[in-house]
Amino acid sequence: MKIVAVTSCPTGIAHTYMAAESLEEAAKEGGHSIAVETQGAAGANPLTDEQISSADVVVLAADVEVRNRERFAGKPTVVVPIKRAINDPGAVLDQAAALLAAALAPEPAPTAGSPPPPARVGGTPVRAEHGPSGATRVRQWLMTGVSYMIPFVAAGGILIALSFVIGGAQIATKVNGGTFHGVTYPGVTDISKLLAQTGVAGVMFKIGGIAFSMLVPILAGFIAYAMADRPGLVPGIVAGLIANAIGAGFLGGLVGGLLAGGVVLAILKIKVPKAVAGIMPVVVIPLISTLIVGFLMIAAVGQPIAAATRGLTDWLNGLNGSNAIALGALLGLMMAFDMGGPVNKVAYTFGLASLAAGNQQVMAAVMAAGMTPPLALALATAVRPGFFTKPEREAGNAAWLLGASFITEGAIPFAAADPLRIIPSLMAGSAVTGALVMALHASSPAPHGGIWVIGLIGKPLVWLVAILAGTVVSAACVVVAKGLGRRSLATPSGLAVESRKVAVAG
């Protein structure tokens, strides 16, 4: 095989060169060709573009950050501590060979449900990345974004839920302004007065909301990071912020992240003169990629979403007064479709408008249907933990509280990682819940709060049964869908492969 390698250590006078020599000797012995870039004190000997593009596999033996790592984006890469390359270079090359074999195999991918645990060889953590089939790569990119997003969901969601517990569900209205159960609050515009006006609960609600506002930017940013390494981060995060600004929700962020990663990878392929190469990573790539991605997000994604939102709202208003059960099912489908995205917002806004017009049943249906997605995933991770990654299982634990508090976003990590299986499953259960609430005439005078406003709910037992039914339906669908998509994983002996960036967060 053809290998390119980079060696790098803190001082750059000893280990860098020892590792280079060791790898070269081992490659000679094994009949491989190798080119090593020593990022040490004795001046630069950079790999040529030719060497990199013709290489089968990349070995990074480094205890400090490898410079210009983005050159290797998309190549199967073995990352080892530098001493390992000195002490046992043969094993490092074996590992590279196994990784290459895995990357070339027809179905080398981790199972759809759960990437294998972090690889450990000889007691040393080994991180590896490779380029398998298209669908699997997309899934790895999404998983990377999700794994960085989950802590934001957990921190923000639990803070919001706790603020309901401490301050009552009206805390959201106290902070944001509006009407809750007949009482109108002005809201807090000066955040420095938040504590004085709304107490600790209000502050917690606000912090949770701010943490939540980072969900989509982090998701988009780290999807792009998984694709294009560091240069992907800026356009990805900006795409996520724009997705927020245009109300595109997490699906918009998902699209934005993939777009940003793709644009950066395309820019990296362009050959530039040496004089410009130095400012490429710091100025040119962030500038150009952010401009392109931002423009597309605002012009090509934002406007259709705004138009679709208007159309959907008009259509829903036109349905008012028709079959209540069908309306409940439809609202359920919408609530679970994008969990805080534009479709969900249309349904929720419809619920608010109905409430203002005196119809409390629609609100009860909307709220219940928004609670089932996280609850269903919490249930699914509890009954079938093997179908989920470790970060997903942890998100599943938090999802009980988030779902109970009507924080539908608790389901986003699962939906973003595996949208095609998760979203339809969640829609099915939420439709059942929405229809049941309308059919059995439960009602809610509160626009949010979930289980914490149970005292205000009309026919609370019926309402709970509807939520339970939808939760079970969705969880069953999720388990079946995940089960259908599972494949067995052929792992080369002694080597497990994982997406490198997932390991960072997981």
């Binding site: 250590c9 000893a14 020599e21």
Partner: protein
């Protein structure tokens, strides 16, 4: 350019058994030869590097080293220990100790010599020759031959 190593920078019977003591002993040889201008300062730089990640390598080797402003010329101090000195390698103590001193602003010629030295260290034949050398001059000759091609 001054010699990378001379006989007075070689100790074939290092008595110290602790990493810091062994390093200080070899650094003392460098200071006595005028290669290190401030022993304390240099040792602090070496200790700082050692603290980042122990420099022991499998095969009984320790390579305490630093780039330091207290070093006047790129220099190798060599010590051999029968009992062994623990430099944090997984397979046991070091019997060959290479104290590599690089001047902080060292030009690339200096650094290239040290990089060649580092590359030779991974070769078993070089290590075995160093273990078998009978006197300091044999060590100096080996290094000159392998690293400088003399």
């Amino acid at each position: 350019m001054s010699e990378l190593i001379t006989t007075d920078l070689v100790d074939l019977d290092v008595k110290a058994t602790e990493r810091g003591e062994a390093t200080a002993h070899l650094a003392g040889l460098l200071a006595a030869a005028g290669r290190v201008t401030d022993l304390e300062g240099f040792l602090a730089d070496v200790a700082a590097r050692e603290a980042q990640m122990p420099t022991g390598i499998e095969g009984g080797i320790g390579i305490p080293h630093a780039r330091s402003r207290f070093v006047s010329a790129p220099t190798l101090g060599f010590g051999r220990s029968t009992a062994g000195v623990d430099f944090g390698a997984e397979d046991g103590p070091a019997h060959l100790i290479f104290l590599i001193a690089a001047p902080e602003g060292g030009d690339s010629d200096h650094m290239t010599i040290l990089s060649k030295l580092a590359r030779r260290l991974v070769h078993r034949s070089f290590r075995e020759a160093l273990l078998g050398a009978g006197d300091p001059q044999a060590i100096v000759d080996l290094v000159d031959k392998e690293v400088l091609g003399k």
